[in-house]
């Protein structure tokens, strides 16, 4: 490991995936920082849409929730929730949305509802929020999750938000407008999805980790790209922006 944290590597990898994107649907936390970083680097025209109804936010401080008042002050537009989901998301205006979850399977399907049985859950999770419809409508879905055997599972306990369902082609068959998950950024590696089969393919491993480190944290044996490479580490400029400007308090560093 070098002089950056796994979270910083995740943020940087996610930011790079946003190159050229103009509208992103985002929550707080790592994705939010990733978007801010992308705005300063690879996606200068990027505008952030929050499910709280805010478009074109210009927060004077790091927002601590998607409803932080700092997101509203000086925003370009604030709209009712129904319009946010109807006009922007279902209306097809969102290019990229970030999602995560407690469980993910090889097709990028996500569980944020329960661990265990639905009626008698072992752990009751938050539920869908907007994730179910985001997964259906965003033109592309980017997933950020820490890699762990508990999360990357063979079978979901509950399918909250559809990824590629049972494989490539199922979304099109069901006439879902969005193309589904495109990339999974973790603290150890990056996956993309095979356009023919719809399942996850390991495309890069962050510096300091090995293929075995990745396999050890997964509930299935992942497919590996023939072009598997090492992830480009954060550049000094990226780290400078993150640490000095975007998250000077280091809230999202660890």
């Amino acid at each position: 490991m070098s002089d950056y944290s796994p979270s910083e590597m995740m943020i940087v990898a996610a930011a790079r995936a946003l190159a050229g994107v103009r509208t992103v649907f985002v929550g707080v936390g790592l994705p939010n920082i990733a978007c801010n970083l992308a705005q300063r680097t690879v996606a200068p025209e990027l505008e952030l849409i929050y499910e709280s109804g805010v478009y074109g936010a210009r927060p004077a401080r790091l927002p601590l929730s998607i409803g932080d008042p700092a997101l509203v002050t000086g925003a370009l537009s604030v709209c009712p929730i129904i319009d946010l989901f109807g006009l922007y998301l279902q209306g097809g205006r969102v290019e990229v949305a970030f999602l995560g979850g407690a469980q993910i399977d090889r097709y990028g399907n996500l569980n944020t509802t329960v661990i265990g049985d639905y009626v008698h859950p072992k752990v009751r999770l938050p539920g869908s929020g907007g994730a179910c419809e985001i997964a259906i409508h965003a033109q592309q879905v980017f997933i950020i999750m820490r890699l762990s055997r508990r999360s990357f599972v063979e079978h979901l306990d509950f399918l909250t938000s559809p990824g590629h369902l049972g494989g490539a082609g199922e979304r099109e068959h069901l006439k879902m407008p969005g193309r589904g998950p495109q990339v999974v950024v973790t603290d150890k590696c990056v996956f993309r999805f095979d356009p023919v089969t719809g399942d996850m393919v390991l495309v890069s491993i962050h510096p300091g980790f090995t293929l075995e480190d990745v396999r050890a944290e997964m509930g299935w044996d992942p497919r590996v790209s023939p072009d598997l490479r090492e992830t480009e580490p954060p550049t000094p400029e990226e780290l400078h922006l993150l640490r000095e400007e975007l998250d000077p308090q280091g809230i999202y560093r660890s």
Partner: protein, 300 residues
Amino acid sequence: MKLTTMHDAIATYVHDGDTVAIEGFTACIGFAAAHEIIRQRRRDLVLCRMTPDLIYDQMVAAGCARKLVFSYLGNPGVGPLHAIRRAVEKGIPAPLELEEYSHFGMVGRYFAGAYRLPFFPLYSYTGSDLPRVNPRIRFVESPYGDGPIAVVPPLNPDVAIIHAQRADVHGNTQLWGLVGAQKEVAFAAQHVIVVVEEVVDEEVIRSDPNRTLIPGMIVDAVVHEPYGAHPSYVQGYYDRDNDFYLRWDEISRDESSTRTWLEEWVYGVRDRAEYVQKMGPETWERLKPAQAWSHPVNYG
């Protein structure tokens, strides 16, 4: 003239067994009303809210609820809602029924309720397990030959409670910043209680009619309750008390510390005014927002 006290508004419009919606998406969450409901020991409520947040976590811990209708169960930016999890996972203090949707489905239910429609159509739920566990999510076939689409049924609460920046004594209410699903839930409800930071002259409302989110004609009671949305926030009046959202994560992990907090801050105060005083001026100083005034517009 609908101005009344929080005590009387709750006593009049919230009854045991009622379906109650206290909306406000992250902002303008009606904690003062919730605490009064707890103090009046309402039971068996069906609590509706997109994001149950700390407000319903507290009401569930206090034993007010028999059921939640919701779309996202979390302490935003912090973690889980421990009291609700205890009720769901362990039946403490009592079992809690859940009826869940996605955000769009939940606000669509309010919309259908407000528009008196039999359903709201939305392209959600395809491929998801949600319709399997919630039989109220159904599908209809488009009569234009473009296949099936999910629908959700109307949600018409017995009472909706809305916190806002300002209203006149007739209940004409203006809200800015995040407006969430407040308009829809107010029109969907049988009764509406509006709680405001300021009661203003009708002329203030009439100076900007596009800003009126809820007309007085659908409002039953207006309650003047400064800081009534703390620890959430009211744009232009006070910031979100993020410290408390973090502290609640600690307090609520344990049943007895939760009870102790309720004793001190809910049962132990007579009303919101006492809570505000007990919180102390340094809290309100800390949460004081900057000034950022809108450019006025001419309605002449």
